[in-house]
């Protein structure tokens, strides 16, 4: 027998990449559940499709790259990408949309850049943007929250719709988009944008059923669920507080300023924080370690930059929600941010930071 030679430390905290990713996926569960309740079971079908595609694509590329497939599939990073993309797209979007999107995320954005840890951009968000630009119609077909829907949609209907674009009862997607009072309802952010464009003041716009009623606040509940998941991740020390706090704080401060300046033209800070994908972005997407900044101060800057971009695009840009664009743009700045926010090493003068 012989002795084993190893390098120190011989101790390890037994926390692996896989367990971190698993926790992230688990933390998504409340958000997904609320989404399913308010927007139908489509999201679950999308999840299944996305995860299957992600694993397939990952395994295929890994075998092409002559890498061991098992350990890398088991790190669950593909799973997290699939989950994030699945919850971001409309629940009743056609099946090929999520398949193309996930395959693009895994193959183009992640593996072609060298696999986990080497991708410059967040795969889920890059895929989302690609889909949004390529298939704008399908990507904006959000259904109104369930209680407002004119047509009741069963789980079977969800499957049918996703694969055939018609429910089992023969309703088309655009028919399903109609609300009880016969008006096509979009997401609150969308509605806001349209109303503002039509010259309505916000006070008038608030009257829309999208904003009122318990059911109408579906987006609020979804965001609250993701907030809970995010707090769980913080508690588990999977993520640090810096990025989410910076995102939310900068978004809050900016929207507060503009709302105070002109309450009729700008939505309230609370509206911004709890609509769209704000919480998902702050806790799950911006905190993706691979594409985020890695220094403590850098994370603050990175989060603040995302908040600023969300605010700018939502308030002045052409797209209703801005999370994906904001995250991608901030991803681009990461190397620069990292370079200029190097911490002061023990025993060195502070100049190291901005040298």
């Amino acid at each position: 027998m012989s002795f084993k030679i190893a390098s120190s430390p011989h101790h390890h905290n037994r926390r692996s990449t896989a367990s971190l990713m698993q926790l992230v996926a688990i933390a998504c569960i409340p958000g997904i559940a609320v989404q399913a309740v308010f927007f139908g079971y489509g999201v679950l079908v999308q999840l299944v499709l996305a995860i299957a595609t992600a694993w397939l694509a990952e395994a295929m590329i890994l075998s092409l790259r002559h890498k061991a497939i098992r350990p890398r599939l088991m790190d669950h990073s593909a799973l997290v990408t699939a989950v994030l993309l699945a919850v971001a797209i409309p629940p009743f979007a056609p099946w090929w949309l999520i398949v193309i999107g996930t395959a693009f995320a895994i193959i183009m954005v992640k593996q072609l850049y060298g696999g986990l840890g080497h991708n410059l951009f967040n795969p889920a968000m890059a895929a989302y943007v690609m889909l949004l630009i390529s298939f704008p119609v399908q990507m904006t077909q959000w259904l109104p929250p369930l209680p407002l829907q004119s047509v009741t949609i069963s789980p079977l209907d969800a499957i049918c719709t996703i694969f055939t674009q018609f429910s089992c009862g023969g309703f088309s997607l655009s028919q399903m988009q109609l609300s009880v009072d016969g008006i096509t309802l979009a997401t609150p952010l969308d509605t806001l944008r349209t109303d503002l464009a039509q010259g309505l003041t916000l006070t008038e716009s608030w009257q829309s059923p999208v904003y009122l009623s318990f059911a109408g606040s579906g987006w609020l509940w979804v965001n609250l669920a993701y907030l809970a998941g995010g707090l769980f991740l913080l508690q588990q020390k999977v993520i640090t507080w810096r990025i989410p706090v910076a995102v939310l704080a900068s978004l809050f401060v900016l929207t507060m300023l503009s709302w105070l300046a002109s309450p009729d033209a700008f939505a309230s800070p609370l509206f911004h924080l709890f609509s769209g994908g704000t919480m998902l972005a702050a806790f799950f997407i911006a905190t993706d370690p691979v594409s985020a900044s890695t220094t403590d101060r850098g994370r603050l800057w990175y989060g603040a930059l995302i908040g600023l971009l969300i605010y700018l695009i939502r308030s002045f840009g052409g797209y209703p929600d801005a999370v994906a664009f904001a995250v991608l743009l901030a991803n681009m700045c990461v190397p620069l941010i990292d370079y200029y926010t190097r911490p002061r090493t023990y025993g060195h003068k502070a100049k190291g930071a901005t040298k």
Partner: protein
């Protein structure tokens, strides 16, 4: 705002960045008493157990040493001695696996204890009355070096001249498992405090801060009680966090100061000593008990009795583990040091040294082997854990890319290799290992760069020197030329023209000769090979011993020469020649010709013996004696040659070649002081002789043709020789002539008539060559004598050819026997 000192007095603690909380697993050993181990069978004491250089060895193998006796001497300030841990015999001083991650062999003194524990004489000091210098010397002579891990010589840190504000006693012991300091504090707090008193006397600090991790309440209470009489001693319990026991981290924890990069704590008025060191100092000063043992935590799940052991320095780890009931597991790790910074041992014979605080033999479930290294996901857990506030993942990136400039920019040098980053890494990347490799490479490159700079300077200095010498020589030559011109103008005549013409003629002849010879060579070589092949077949059976035998003979011969030669230089020459011979012989014997090597080996040895005499001759300034010696050598060689010829043609070649070279060397030696040149000339002569002989044997006709030319060329060579000042060249020429002559002779063996003619010619040509010589000094005369002798020898040889073969066999045998007698 209270001053820093006031804050410290008030018990303020600060924090350092990062840190991790690995499970400490200290309870296994911390509450057990320290047990002294029985004497092991052998003790292996490395000569160097500290940072610095090893001391001068004071003892030798077979000596009996007493307990505490110094084995090495501290002959400079960076040295501390090592001592005999017990009384016993030194049975070896040898290389042994070192207690270092590399496990490279290092010199150790191996002591076999005699069990008597007999102490040397001890003189305890009274530290209150002793002066600083005495105390420092005592600390150094007791072999005390930092016992926390680095092993920095303590007397240097204790003998600082800078003012010291804080003396920090490091009793944090933050590594999991280790409780050696804890146990020490529980058992001997008063001795430790006496040690601190001594350090205070040496350093005179404002305050003494004793840092103890909060998970050692008993030890902390014990220390508090022991310090209660001393006003400026403060016991501080620091929070449990790894690596709070790191020097820089503890300074930050206790004083909120940072040691500037690349500086020492002393530069900011802080000195840190390990608690074990303080104890050792007290023992050394008060009991004159040098550092010969230490407390080692022996722990891990594969041990039945994990505990703290008082172990002698030099105890092999195997003995220590066995003492604690070691049950070996397959593919097990045995770690010297803690789980975070310790290193695995390849071999349990590694001894305990002054810096060994823990031996850890964990089971597989306790400290599992690292999983496969995955890709970095840039999670920055490492950066959060880094106590030096580095960016480990960037460092990893640049380490992999070997970008040393970037590594320097990201302050790799400030990494303390604590392992916190690798501990938290979810991808299980062995970060520290990457940094260590990169650091070693950077160090190596710096060394190389320095060396390159020095080499360049030396190269340039050398070039400058050579240039200067060249200029000087040129100037001198010009002067000489001017002088010569003057004298020549006085006796100008047609002489010079004639000489020039002659030279040209000689040159032309030379040229044609070489061209023809080369063709002859090729043909000859082929023939020789054929013959060799035939001989090989014939004598394959007998081939086996030959190599060894002849090798052994020449070896013994050269040894013999070495022994008899009084002048080492001559011995060296002889040895060099012997080597050359041996090589040559081996070359010839490769085709395995028993008879030949039998004959030639004695020839070589014999002529070497003669050569030895010949070599000695020049020192007596008498060229005649040299000539006699040379003649003797030749005669002998010839005899052997004759014997050999009877047996085989190849033997002739070889013998002749050796004989020729022998002659050349012997002849020339008297005329020279420089044996090197002689060796060169000899080599030249040999080579030529061999070639020609081969040619001669192979095709007699062409050989005969060549004879004439050879003679001519020897003449030419001889002609040229006199025109030079250098007698050496003349000698070379003579040797050439001789070699030529021999070749002719061989031709003659085949066809006697023509051979006789040729012999005459050869002799004549040799004489011609030699004729020029007398016009010069004594050495020339020697050459003439040699040539004459040769000519005679040749004639005899020709006659001898007619004799029967059996006679020669006998001759050779007799010769062999004689040589054996000589070399014996």
């Amino acid at each position: 705002m209270p001053s820093l000192f006031q804050q410290i007095q008030a018990g303020a603690l600060w924090d350092f960045h990062g840190g991790v909380h690995p499970p400490t697993r200290k309870a296994v050993t911390s509450e057990k008493p320290i047990i002294s181990m029985s004497l092991p069978e052998r003790l292996y004491i490395p000569l160097r157990q500290h940072i610095g250089v090893a001391g001068q060895l004071l003892v030798e193998v077979g000596e009996r040493v007493l307990k505490g006796q110094a084995l090495t001497a501290a002959d400079n300030s960076m040295t501390v001695p090592v001592h005999a841990p017990t009384s016993g015999m030194i049975i070896a001083i040898t290389d042994h696996t070192s207690p270092h991650p590399s496990a490279l062999p290092e010199s150790v003194i191996v002591i076999e204890p005699d069990g008597l524990e007999e102490w040397r004489e001890r003189e305890p000091l009274n530290f209150a009355t002793a002066d600083t210098q005495t105390l420092l010397e005592r600390i150094q002579d007791s072999g005390i070096a930092g016992m926390g891990g680095a092993g920095f010589p303590t007397h240097i840190k204790a003998g600082l001249h800078q003012p010291v504000d804080y003396l920090i006693i490091n009793a944090v012991e933050c590594e999991p498992y280790i409780t050696a300091d804890d146990a020490l504090m529980q058992e001997a707090p008063t001795t430790i405090v006496k040690g601190i008193d001594i350090l205070c006397k040496l350093l005179n600090p404002k305050a003494v801060l004793i840092g103890i991790e909060a998970d050692k309440p008993i030890a902390a209470a014990g220390m508090r009680a022991a310090c209660s009489q001393r006003e400026h001693y403060y016991v501080r319990e620091v929070p449990v966090k790894y690596p709070s026991g790191g020097e820089k981290q503890l300074i930050q924890l206790l004083t909120n100061k940072e040691v500037p990069a690349g500086r020492r704590p002393a530069d900011i008025g802080i000195v840190m000593q390990n608690i074990g060191t303080a104890f050792a100092i007290a023992q050394a000063v008060l009991d004159d008990h040098p550092l010969i043992s230490r407390i080692v935590t022996v722990t891990g799940e594969t041990l039945q009795r994990p505990q703290n052991v008082q172990a002698l320095i030099g105890t092999p780890v195997a003995a220590l583990l066995d003492f604690c009931g070691y049950q070996v597991e397959l593919e097990q790790k045995v770690i010297m040091g803690g789980p975070m910074m310790g290193f695995t041992l390849p071999d349990l014979a590694v001894p305990v040294v002054k810096t060994t605080n823990c031996i850890l033999a964990p089971s597989h479930t306790e400290l599992p082997n690292a999983g496969p290294e995955l890709d970095c996901i840039r999670c920055s857990a490492c950066a959060d854990a880094c106590p030096a506030t580095l960016l480990p993942q960037q460092l990893l990136w640049y380490s992999k890319a070997k970008d040393h400039d970037k590594l320097k920019e990201y302050n790799l040098a400030d990494c303390i290799e604590c392992g916190a980053c690798a501990y938290v890494c979810p991808s299980e990347i062995p970060l520290v290992q990457y940094y260590r490799i990169a650091k070693a490479e950077i160090r190596e490159q710096q060394r190389e760069a320095l060396k390159a700079e020095q080499a360049k300077a030396r190269f340039e200095a050398r070039n400058a020197r050579l240039e200067a010498e060249k200029q000087a020589r040129l100037a001198k030559n010009q002067q000489l030329a001017a002088a010569r011109q003057q004298s020549q103008q006085q006796n100008a005549g047609s002489n010079t023209v004639a000489a020039a013409l002659e030279r040209i003629k000689a040159k032309q002849q030379n040229a044609t000769e070489t061209a023809q010879r080369s063709h002859a060579d090729i043909v000859a070589e082929r023939e020789v090979k054929k013959q060799q092949a035939r001989a090989y077949q014939a004598q394959q059976a007998a081939a086996t011993h030959t190599d060894a035998e002849s090798g052994a003979q020449s070896q013994s011969a050269s040894q013999n020469l070495d022994a008899t030669a009084t002048d080492p230089r001559q011995a060296a020459v002889a040895a060099a020649i012997a080597r050359a011979k041996a090589r040559q012989q081996q070359h010839t014997t490769e085709p395995a010709q028993t008879a030949q090597s039998r004959a030639s080996a004695p020839a070589v040895t014999d002529s070497q013996a003669t050569q030895n005499h010949a070599d000695k001759a020049p020192s007596q300034d008498d060229p005649r004696k040299a000539a006699v010696a040379a003649a003797l050598a030749r005669a002998k060689a010839r005899k052997q040659q004759q014997g050999a010829e009877a047996e085989q043609n190849h033997a002739i070649e070889n013998n002749a070649a050796t004989a020729a070279s022998r002659e050349a060397t012997a002849d020339k030696a008297p005329s020279h002081d420089d044996p090197r040149k002689a060796a060169v000339a000899a080599a030249l002569a040999r080579a030529k002789a061999r070639k020609q002989q081969q040619g001669a044997e192979a095709e007699q006709n062409s050989a005969l043709d060549n004879n004439g030319e050879a003679a001519a060329s020897s003449e030419a060579a001889a002609d040229k020789a006199p025109s030079h000042d250098d007698p050496r060249k003349a000698a070379v020429a003579a040797a050439l002539a001789r070699a030529k002559a021999r070749k002719q002779q061989q031709g003659a063996e085949a066809e006697q008539n023509s051979a006789l003619d040729n012999n005459g010619e050869a002799a004549a040509s040799s004489e011609a060559a030699a004729d020029e010589a007398p016009s010069q000094d004594d050495p020339r005369k020697a050459a003439v004598a040699a040539a004459l002798a040769r000519a005679k020898a040749r004639k005899q040889q020709a006659a001898a050819d007619t004799r029967s073969a059996s006679e020669h066999d006998e001759n050779a045998q007799a010769e062999l026997a004689k040589t054996k007698g000589d070399s014996a």
